[in-house]
Amino acid sequence: MNANIEPTDFVFDAAAEAAVARAIARYPAGKQASAVMALLDIAQRQMERLTGSAWVPRLAMDVVAQRLGIAAARVYEIATFYTMYNTKPVGKYHLQVCTTTPCWLRGSDEVVSSCKKVAGIEGFGQTSADGLFTMTEVECLGGCVNAPILQINDDYYEDLDAARTEALLNALKSGAPLPPAGSSIGRQASAPVTNQTALLNNTKPVE
């Protein structure tokens, strides 16, 4: 992965074009600028598909601006404002560790250090030498009940600790596909870890 070089060219491919058409069609005529976030996402996914790294090169932002008839600066603003758009190349697995208070209280530091250990990197924003992992610090992912959370690409991996994080990442490293998303301790959705304590059938309705 030649990660640090801007591509010399960016055009939407056939699959992306179809998605672009769908995204633009969602808005009334003359308001197609509203599709800017969708188009940036399509561009990022196309980069992932073609290069294995999900990011939006500046050229792609220019293409989006041109397609929507808005100033390039407006697209730069949006692409850099939202953390979900990567303006630099990332590894095949983008490790987005939530370190906001609930996750931190539940041990996100362990998740961070496991990521560092397996990927062999020293801090946030770095990519592993094999180009497999990039670790990013993110703010609350909204999954606090199942904290700590590690988002890999689009999926949440929940209830992690040091060992389970390492196991997960080592599996990826050895070439396994991403496991099903969700709790790593097998809990169902966000139900209590220690089994259900409320709304049980044996509770009698209050007289």
Binding site: R58, A71, A72, A73, R74, Y76, E77, T80, F81
Partner: protein, 685 residues
Amino acid sequence: MAKVTVDGIEVEIANGSSVLQAAEAAGKEIPRFCYHERLSVAGNCRMCLVEIEKVPKPVASCGQPVADGMVIFTDTENVRKSRRGVMEFLLINHPLDCPICDQGGECDLQDEAVSYGRDTSRYEEGKRASAQPDWGPLVKTTMTRCIHCTRCIRFSTEIAGVPELGATLRGENMQVGTYVDKALSSELSGNLIDLCPVGALTSKPYAYTARSWELRKTDSVDVLDAVGANIRIDARGAEVLRILPRLNDDVNEEWLGDKSRFSVDGLKRRRLDRPWLRENGKLRAASWEEVFAAVTNKIKASKPERLGAIAGDLVDVESMLALKEMFTSLGSPNLDCRQDGAVFDASQRGFYLFNTTIAGIEEADALVIIGSNPRHEAPVLNARIRKRWLAGHFEAGLVGVPHDLTYPTTHIGSGPDAITALLDGTHPFAEVLKAAKKPMLILGAGALTRPDGAAIHAAAWKLAAQFNMLNDDWHGFNVLHHAAARTGALDIGFLPGPGGKSTAQMLAGGVDILWLLGADALDTQAIGADTFVIYQGHHGDAGAARADVILPGAAYTEKDGTYVNTEGRVQQGFIAVKPPGDAREDWRILRAISAYMGHALRYDTLQELRAHLAQTYPLFALTGELRRLAGANLGAPAGDRAAVSAVPFEPVFGNYYQTDSISRASPTMAACVEAHYPNLAEAAQ
């Protein structure tokens, strides 16, 4: 109208006005950083907080619309406390490097910190620092000082029409910039410096030059284009250090083109500061006495009809009048102010003025631009057209070279035959003009320099007449000049008299003695080898290089001068510094030499000259203001409109930055050419 009470003062203000405007109407000053009258409301600095009755929290007054019966307090303890809080937050990441900041002394943040700042900082953590991106040769960036007011972003997007600036990243990391490294491509970029309330954007050429309180400020008029933008000349000692725009809603609002603002260093270079005399093919320094004698002998030995004078683009009306009257008393009819060789009917003012007026553009609803690029020839006027376009229901068509004018234009054709297509109704834009209530056209002065210039003039007039542009209350025919001196010269009839020769005829050997009053834009190669050339002017440019005698004159910052802008507005500039060395004000030179020749002009002081000017040409009695001309019953300029050719129009200026002797002498303008026209800069080397 809404009735509101501000600090006990009752004011009536239009619905939709903001609380801040209501407070200003009541004479209350509201501190602000992001709010600007001419930009959209952002409401992100929070400095303009006020209290409103029945509203529990302080309100940002810039973005709060007034409501009838609103009771507003702008100076309560709570308001002051809130503003102090805002100020403390603004200063958290501000470096407080005022001693080394060029904005110091004229900084909004500094001024407001006097009222709302704490004496010491409570903030002990590290401050944010930012990179200093390169925005080109004019605007110096120190983004660490930026308080994120976004005025520059809004200006470039809304007024300049070059949306290159944006706020990238977010929160504490937010950066105002271009994201991609590049120089700002606007001709109005200097205004970002005025707009920036802090020292984040300062003038690059003026960096570390002076403090605002050291400067002597003089009101004047810009002469580097024909808009006549009102300027303030800031000088220290004998040196003009910078030029800033002055507020005039009828002309330049508060903007100024980059050339007009930054050419100021050209005033110190290549100056003619002593008389020169050509001897044996070489110029040598001479005394005034010597050059007077040389000129007088030459003129006395020549027949009057073999004398000619051409006035340049930067000359004040007084000098041109003195030269004209001297030539008249010598008996020569050979005068021309159109050094570009244009020949057109100037028998009525309406034929050569920007009749709609600059402020009048805002009333128009359709526009045809013929043979002009207003973005380069008059950037401030172009901003006014863009302002009109932004207001909606406005269409513009362009005949000539297609340009990005910062508003969309329909390209009607490349040559003047497109005017015929509009007249015939064969081009669809004719329908737009027909439907318009107040259509206008702008004829570039460059179009009149062509061989078929008079025909284009007549055709454009016919277009105006046919499409309802010439009425009692609307005059939609406009000539956009690019030379500040031109309108004034035409007004005083600095034109060939009966039997007199035009510029082209004078250059082609029609005269033995040619007096160039600041005329540099003509083809000096074309002047006959045995023509004796007298150059009177301030810069060693094309005219001086060809001259046999050089009379050192004064640049526009160095003399009291009257100028008439393209609308026909008579404006006066004042002297800011003395001309360098032996150079003198031009009318004085002419007065002195006329006496030397025994044809003394009738005025000894500028007051007498101006009184004489106003008496001879009454329109000069009214300065600053403008009476709009009615468009109806004017006749039509001479010229056979059928004679228009199909030869495409060409750009008047090869580049925006170097168009006259002052801007050509300016290193800053040269740097701009290098940044924006790399091909040109390379060719020049």
